[in-house]
């Protein structure tokens, strides 16, 4: 819809400037400089010339033939303005009026908006702002104390926040990230770290075995691992005093711990001092319940350097725990097949008011390092991430956050700051 602009309205009332000029000229001749005093002279001159109503000779304006006759005729522009006023539109005619800025296109909204003047308004709209009528309306008062509606943002998984925190801590402490495959050979999952071939942890009750055989690594590594198992090799150990069988080491399985990644890294050659860590999924062949699933995440780190010992292992774990808000730490000696001594570390959580056991750690046995030519002590520790996460977020069941059984409502609403408060 089109309406007259302010200028259009004025010309409709007072005639167009070019007509007013012609009227003056029909009374008497005028010089250009005299005519300048007339209202809107430049517009009048421009259109009078364009319409070929006047000619200018030596500074004097003269009416042409059509200039003389125009006063007796109807001027089409003026007629258009009248039509618009009456609500008649013709797109063709509109073009010239639009160029001359005598009409403008208005939306329904603008028209509606106009009606709001003096009234109480609910929503502030771009039209109210543009048209300037915000000056003339009142805004309805809201109940601003009423809380907003619930909306769901995109969110990271709560475990992912724990991963990020763990990574942050390791990186701060100078650890390089490492990774390794989920499907492993028994060699990397067990043999490489001196777990005997008849160890109960190898039972199918604990380990997911896959059909087929994988490849063993470099012959020299295999030879040294075999020797250390059978006789202790050059490690100073008696060994397991049992024939080591390559077919057992070739068995394929889903890794049961991330220590397989550590041993791949150690066997791949390291430069000391060396600090590495990884976070990864591991698998145990067992039935699932509220607190256990057959797969879970583990974090693990090691340091290989001169002069590491039980005290530095404890010192490290203490600093590591304090990064997770557990400032009081106690240790208990335990048994792991590939570390000696081995330590379980308990941290005191003020938040839940009890000692919690997360970290299992130790100094790698010489038998588990000799095949890779590592002469310096290697301290290592690892822990299950779900267990830590369940302490932090207070979940009752791991199934609530992990797997297809996860509770979307929980994931949408969990407290992002829990990790910081813990």
């Amino acid at each position: 819809m089109y309406v007259l602009t302010e200028e259009g309205e004025k010309y409709l009332k007072n005639k167009l400037p070019e007509i007013n000029l012609i009227k003056e000229l029909s009374k008497k001749e005028l010089s250009v400089s005299d005519a300048k005093k007339l209202e809107n002279f430049n517009i009048a001159l421009q259109w009078a010339k364009k319409n070929q109503w006047i000619e200018i000779e030596t500074g004097m304006m003269k009416l042409t033939k059509s200039g003389k006759s125009i006063l007796e005729k109807k001027y089409e522009i003026e007629e258009y303005l009248k039509e618009i006023k009456l609500g008649k539109f013709d797109e063709d005619k509109m073009k010239i009026l639009l160029t001359r800025n005598l009409v403008r296109n208005v939306t329904e909204k603008e028209i509606e908006t106009k009606k709001l003047i003096g009234k109480e308004v609910l929503d502030l709209t771009p039209e109210i702002i543009k048209s300037g009528i915000w000056r003339d309306v009142k805004f309805k008062k809201y109940n601003v104390e009423f809380p907003g509606k619930k909306i769901y943002p995109g969110k990271k998984h709560p475990l992912n926040l724990v991963f990020e925190k763990i990574r942050e801590v390791f990186i701060e402490m100078g650890f390089d990230e490492m990774e390794g495959p989920l499907v492993e050979t028994a060699f990397w999952n067990m043999d490489s770290m001196f777990i005997p071939q008849d160890h109960p942890a190898r039972d199918i009750q604990d380990t997911f075995y896959l059909s087929g055989e994988g490849d063993l690594p470099d012959k020299n590594i295999v030879k040294d691992v075999k020797e250390v198992h059978e006789t202790g090799g050059n490690s100073g150990s008696k060994g397991w005093n049992m024939k080591w069988m390559p077919e057992i080491a070739k068995q394929l399985l889903l890794r049961t711990h991330t220590t397989s990644v550590t041993y791949r890294t150690l066997a791949g050659g390291i430069e000391t001092p060396c600090k590495r860590f990884c976070i990864g999924r591991v698998f145990r062949n067992e039935a699932s319940d509220a607190t256990h699933l057959p797969e879970f995440y583990q974090a693990e780190g090691f340091i290989a350097a001169e002069n590491l010992n039980v005290r530095t292992l404890m010192g490290f774990i203490k600093s590591f725990y304090s990064k997770f808000g557990l400032h009081e730490v106690k240790f208990k000696f335990t048994y792991n097949p590939y570390t000696e001594p081995s330590l379980e570390a308990f941290g005191y959580s003020e938040k839940i008011g009890e000692w919690i056991e997360l970290i299992n750690s130790g100094i790698f046995r010489p038998e588990s390092l000799a095949p890779y030519g590592i002469k310096v002590p290697v301290i290592a520790w690892g822990f299950g991430i779900e267990r830590l996460a369940m302490f932090i977020y207070g979940n009752k069941s791991i199934k609530e956050i992990l797997g297809h059984t996860c509770d979307l409502n929980y994931l949408r609403n969990y407290n992002l700051l829990k990790l910081e408060e813990w």
Partner: protein, 540 residues
């Protein structure tokens, strides 16, 4: 786990301990009080110390820890023989002993049974490596013969049976026969202990004879045999038994084991000389120790010190290396007495490139309003293929305990649809995604498998259109500044005409579309759902 009572334990140790004191003491030694019910206690033991699987062994360790000087165990000669026939090649070793002057109480019998069972399952690796039998000495006619025979030709009365059966029947009828017959699946003959008057004493690896192999409170003299496939294993485990009997007050008598090619006195209770360099202990523990301190710490964990020589007691079966002795020194020193020291080792840490990239992708998608979920890698054929109307190659499981799983996922989409199924009662739209690993078989790889990192994303709502999901995909690619193409395709998982391949650098990297109602029906989902799955490996 060791089950006993606080009262009984206190009767065996020098100092009467309260439950709290016991708990602290066990903690320092590296064991844990697991459960308490009245006077009954359960203690979590560590697997490498089979000598602590009975309360007498634990009491001995506690007494040493509290300062009692470790003693050496001695044997007297019985003059009897066990003759080992060369036919027992399937289980070639035995170690035997005689115990006299034993006076059983209820708790002792209970402890004995507990230990026998636990040793056989742990140290004996479920009887495959070694198994053990106890017999009243009275009534045995020496020498005893350890010999393999055809089980169809031997008849005896197994433990718990009223009448004699043919030995081969034991595999099918006797509870222990049924439990352990997998051990003997390739045996034609079975090893027996038979006395000199042809009385069958036991059939291995199953059961003793009801007539000759049953111990009770009235038994005061015992014959004990350990058999197995590893000479050291049977000698060691016998020592664990006889030192326990010695601690119960019995006298230990040795026998001569007559092998086809050698004669050995059994048991051998001589302590073993240990080579320990003090500096190695100091280095590993971060301590400075005088010789006197070192010896006293060693004695607190049962080592025998003679002059400046260190001997390990005969019941220790777990000492492979100097570090195992150093571990005992650490336990004797007490974990609470170590002063932790932060290692000042300066290195620079880095994340892996793929971790950093995955984080960026996750953040972008979270920014698009999607909730991240973590589904499991272990799933089932039915979910991955059946419900998705797909067929394909995958890594399958066949020895899984949890029967709801049987393969490793090759796609994230079905797992996301399962998440929707669980959460049907919550508000829509449900917009979820996962970045995670999928695995495929790969004959050429070292582990016969190949891992890929996939991104899958779905929108489920009363209306969810191709345009909506393709806009999400588009904005992901735009923000990663990677060009891609969509190419119309057919795929049973999606509605025909509303599914496209995602092509990146000329390679097919994923699929996008409106999930077919048949698939939605398979997952019991009511709302229209659109989604895509994309292999992110092109980012690395």
């Amino acid at each position: 786990m060791l089950n006993t009572s606080l009262g009984y334990l206190n009767g065996l140790i020098k100092k009467k301990l309260s439950l709290d004191e016991l708990e602290d003491l066990l903690f320092n030694m590296g064991f844990e009080l697991d459960d308490v019910k009245g006077d009954d206690i359960a203690i979590e033991m560590t697997a490498e110390r089979p000598d602590l699987l009975c309360v007498h062994g634990l009491a001995r360790a506690i007494n040493h820890y509290l300062g009692e000087k470790p003693k050496e165990y001695k044997t007297k000669k019985s003059g009897y023989q066990v003759i080992i026939d060369k036919s027992v090649s399937m289980r070639p070793y035995t170690a035997c002993a005689i115990v006299r002057n034993i006076h059983f109480e209820d708790e002792m019998i209970k402890q004995l049974m507990q230990m026998q069972e636990k040793l056989a399952s742990t140290y004996g690796r479920n009887r495959t490596k070694s198994a053990y039998g106890l017999y009243p000495l009275k009534g045995i006619n020496f020498p005893i013969h350890y010999i393999a025979k055809d089980p169809k030709k031997i008849k005896f009365k197994p433990l718990g049976f009223d009448e004699e059966v043919t030995a081969i029947e034991i595999e099918q009828t006797h509870p222990k026969g049924k439990e352990y017959n997998w051990i003997a699946k390739n045996w034609k003959k079975y090893p027996f202990f038979i006395d000199d008057k042809d009385n069958v004493m036991c059939m291995l690896p199953y059961t003793n004879s009801e007539d000759t192999g049953k111990i009770d409170e009235t038994t005061t003299e015992i014959f004990i045999e350990c058999t197995g496939v590893d000479f050291e294993n049977v000698m060691n485990v016998l020592n664990i038994f006889v030192t326990m009997f010695a601690d119960m007050g019995g006298d230990i008598y040795s026998l001569e084991m007559v092998y086809p090619d050698k004669r050995i006195d059994s048991p051998d209770l001589n302590p073993e000389k240990i080579n320990l360099k003090k500096c190695n202990a100091e280095k590993r523990l971060g301590l400075r120790l005088s010789d006197k301190e070192l010896y006293s710490l060693l004695e607190r964990t049962g080592y025998i010190i003679k002059g400046n020589k260190i001997f390990a007691p005969c019941y220790r079966t777990d000492l492979l290396h100097e570090v195992d002795v150093i571990d005992d020194i650490a336990r004797a020193y007490g974990p609470g007495n170590f002063i932790p020291e932060f290692p000042q080792i300066s290195t620079i840490g880095n994340l892996m490139r793929n971790t950093r990239i995955e984080t960026k992708v996750r953040e972008l998608i979270v920014g698009l309003g999607f909730q991240e979920v973590f589904t499991l890698i272990l799933t089932s054929k039915e979910e991955q293929f059946g419900k998705m109307r797909l067929e394909g190659k995958a890594i399958f499981l066949d020895t899984q305990v949890d029967k709801s799983i049987n393969m490793i996922r090759v796609s994230l989409l079905p797992e996301l649809l399962r998440v929707l199924k669980t959460n049907q009662h919550y508000e829509f739209p449900q917009k979820i995604f996962e970045v995670g690993k999928v695995l495929f078989p790969d004959k050429k790889s070292e582990t016969r498998s190949r891992e890929s990192t996939y991104l899958a994303l779905i929108i489920s709502n009363s209306i969810s259109t191709y345009e909506e999901i393709s806009s999400v995909l588009n904005s992901i690619f735009l923000n990663l500044n990677i060009s891609y193409k969509l190419k119309e395709t057919e795929d049973k998982r999606f509605i025909k005409g509303r599914v496209a391949k995602i092509i990146v650098n000329g390679k097919e990297r994923g699929i996008i579309g409106e999930i077919c109602p048949k698939v939605l029906d398979n997952f019991k989902l009511d709302n229209p759902t659109t989604g895509f799955e994309l292999d992110l490996d092109f980012l690395n």
